[in-house]
Symmetry: C2
Subunit: 109 residues, 2 copies
Amino acid sequence: MGRQDTEMLKGVLEGIVLAILASRPAYGYEITARLREQGFTDLAEGTIYALLVRIEQRGLVDVEKVPSEKGPPRKVYSLNAQGRESLTEFWRTWSFLVERLERLHDGKE
Amino acid sequence: MGRQDTEMLKGVLEGIVLAILASRPAYGYEITARLREQGFTDLAEGTIYALLVRIEQRGLVDVEKVPSEKGPPRKVYSLNAQGRESLTEFWRTWSFLVERLERLHDGKE
DNA sequence: CCGCGGTACTGGGTGTTGCTATGTACCGGT
DNA sequence: ACCGGTACATAGCAACACCCAGTACCGCGG
């Protein structure tokens, strides 16, 4: 992926992470790995950690430190009520965008 | 629209403008007005002008100055070959994103 | 036993982008 | 003569994803 793609991720990536956490709690390293498997091959590791810090500071997630068998303790994030609200809001905005762009793609205006 | 929305526009807005120019040439003031009509109510005027300057510098559009009946001359932008290529690339990335997010929304992973 | 690779998190600095705010300029109607 | 709508330009700001380097913990092979 190139320059344009990384710009397009802005804002969207947060929604993606919230959506992942909505299905079940997860920690940074795991999220990065999963996203890379799912096609975001160039995703930088530091990006996810920074994003997690941000959404934690905004109170969208709860954090629990869990010891790992294979390295330093994991910070497991889980979506709380405010996070679910934010996710709903994200889907609303996302749907709006998708709808607008579909119209543009079909050349309706 | 709020904070999240403006972040989500990043990168996408360029694709939107390219798509608009693909259907027919247009000038900045006109593009801003059209986008506002189509739901991007909070779109700042300066944003479009800055964006047009950028895509011009990257050689994606051709520019022609056309006198207006109601004000200063318009700078009419039209998509050139390179711009069409860039637009195709944009749609490819966009489709990828839409596909990923659809999967997340349907809770498939 | 010691380095090495995999796991896991952290932090500083950079570039791109959209927003805010302000300024310039042209025109017609009152 | 002024005001509002048309039309463009730009300097400064904040947010975000990136790059890069560092820290730390573990098990394994030499």
